[in-house]
Symmetry: C2
């Protein structure tokens, strides 16, 4: 999990890049690529966790076959979104990391030769569970974890019951495609999380997500809700000069896990996974209602070009930001 | 500039609001309104500062006549955007605050009975100048200043030459319409500024602005630039649950001040002033090429309703944000 300086080249280009590359290669150090392809797996989830995992493993292979070097799955892809109710027995779904599921994911990453971001229900100890993203490198090694920092709790999204807020902070991890950041769903509404991940040198932020419409609200608020969600995440790209990849699930769900559904009207997950560049331009975007594998390209030259033209990182007033750690300034 | 508790009612409603109101009124304390109208003066600026000021004073009266309770002028509305070159003699344009211009603005606010946000070139001392927003209450009193914190410096926007970065921090000021925040132009690209102003209880953030296209860039980048600018400011509204009002100038300018223009191709200020609600919905938006007075309504009940449904302020992880005061986390 260290951040070896020799693995930090993206974003610091010099006149003699080729010379530096030659020296590093002669020393056996592989430089991350200037361009790489990412795949966003927008999928639906059924009642059987084993089938959802199997589907995800197949989609990873599909994405690798389409040239992806990074693959991101949606939040908690192994189950329907079970947080639609509070049920103690559902903690049985959680698994330690590493564990049987991460073994399979690791193998899939290695087989496909892809960096893999997978969102898991982590059992850290009896009575202590997290909503965790595991980041595997292309050789299958687990590069690190990110534990969801901001936990929602709203009707049919009872996550505070299940997930202890993360205690690892925000992280950008070194992988074979350079430094990669991930946050999870509700984090997407907090500019601080995006900033703190980008400041660690992430070139791209992934947001595995499970967000949808309440059927009763969709007609009145559906368009505005989706638009606000898209807007604020595009803004993270703009503010930080990073690529952003948002991966949502799709389909109507009642939180059905092995035949047991939650009470309530269910949720219509709105899909619309998207990939945008460091100026917030949406380069690829999925439908609201179909499974898709969305592919986009990260270009570190474009990233640096955008940052040179819009030099926000140059002008941050870091002498003035400490009170942001206040609940309210009253 | 104090923040008396009795002047802080907006956003804290109780079952017995009417009783509280009756008590406060009997004590001679006026409660801010639950709803109020704001006017965004999108104007063009000519070579003569006196004429620009005169036009602004007339627009304030126009806006008041249309029922506005708050009026915001564009950034540095007294002149064409002179920062298109570095010229020591242009410091002559700066004025102390209070000074002759703020006297006229104060009188206009009082006459119109409006809160007024006016962006000025402030002379604080010989050799020490700021890009400053002055906030007048509806009785004409100067409620306080905000000195632009983030100063740009890019081709034809040579602001670091003219303006010392602000040292007052971010501020929300109490006025007759409740607590109001202002930032200035380049600040709009920094989520921290919006957050720190909103955390002080501002219900609305104003962004007096002077942003435009380089003629040579417009065809290729114009749409994306305007869209990024609009997107990130809508995101400030969403992240913080506040209204946002952005007031830009309009028209092609060569930085002509009393007949002396800057070298260079000039700038086409893109107008498109807009007003959005606390969920980022654009409620009113001006053209790219005409002078306009845009009117919008702030509704504190709607603000609280949005915040209850999207409770981001509840879930901020203030234990984790301190490193945001780092330049880079390396």
């Amino acid at each position: 999990m260290g951040h070896p300086a020799e693995n930090r080249e993206p974003g610091t280009r010099t006149e003699n890049t080729e010379l530096v590359a030659a020296i590093l290669i002669s020393e056996g150090i592989r430089l991350p690529p200037e361009k790489f392809r990412v795949a966003l797996v927008q999928m639906s989830c059924g009642p059987e966790p084993e089938q959802n995992l199997q589907k995800a493993l197949e989609r990873i292979a599909d994405a690798a076959g389409r040239g992806a070097q990074v693959v991101c799955l949606p939040e908690l892809f192994q189950t329907q979104y079970f947080c639609q109710r509070e049920d103690h027995s559902l903690f049985d779904l959680a698994e330690p990391i590493p564990g049987p599921t991460t073994e399979k994911l690791s193998a899939a990453a290695r087989r496909g030769g892809v960096v893999l971001i997978a969102s898991l229900f982590e059992k850290r100890a009896p009575g202590l569970y997290h909503n965790t993203a595991a980041i595997f490198d292309a050789d299958g090694s687990l590069r690190g974890l990110y534990r969801k920092m901001h936990i929602p709790d709203d009707p049919l999204y009872y996550e505070k019951f299940y997930f202890t807020p993360g205690d690892l902070g925000y992280r950008a991890l070194d992988t074979s495609v350079g430094r990669v950041g991930t946050l999870v769903c509700w984090d997407q509404w907090f500019p601080e999380g995006a900033r703190l991940t980008a400041l660690q040198g992430a070139n791209i932020l992934f947001y595995p997500t499970a967000i949808g419409w309440h059927p009763a609200e969709k007609a009145e608020f559906g368009v505005a809700q989706h638009d606000a969600w898209r807007t604020i995440q595009r803004a993270h790209a703009i503010a930080n000069g990073v690529y952003v990849a948002v991966v949502n699930r799709v389909g109507f769900e009642t939180g059905n896990v092995r035949g047991k559904s939650a009470p309530g009207a269910g949720l219509e997950f709105w899909g619309a996974s998207f990939f945008c560049d460091p100026f917030g331009r949406v380069l690829a975007e999925a439908s609201h209602d179909r499974e898709e594998i969305l592919v986009g390209e990260v270009d570190l030259k474009a990233l640096e070009d955008i940052r040179r033209n819009w030099p926000f990182l140059r002008d941050r007033r870091i002498d003035s930001y400490v009170p942001i750690a206040s609940r309210l300034i009253d």
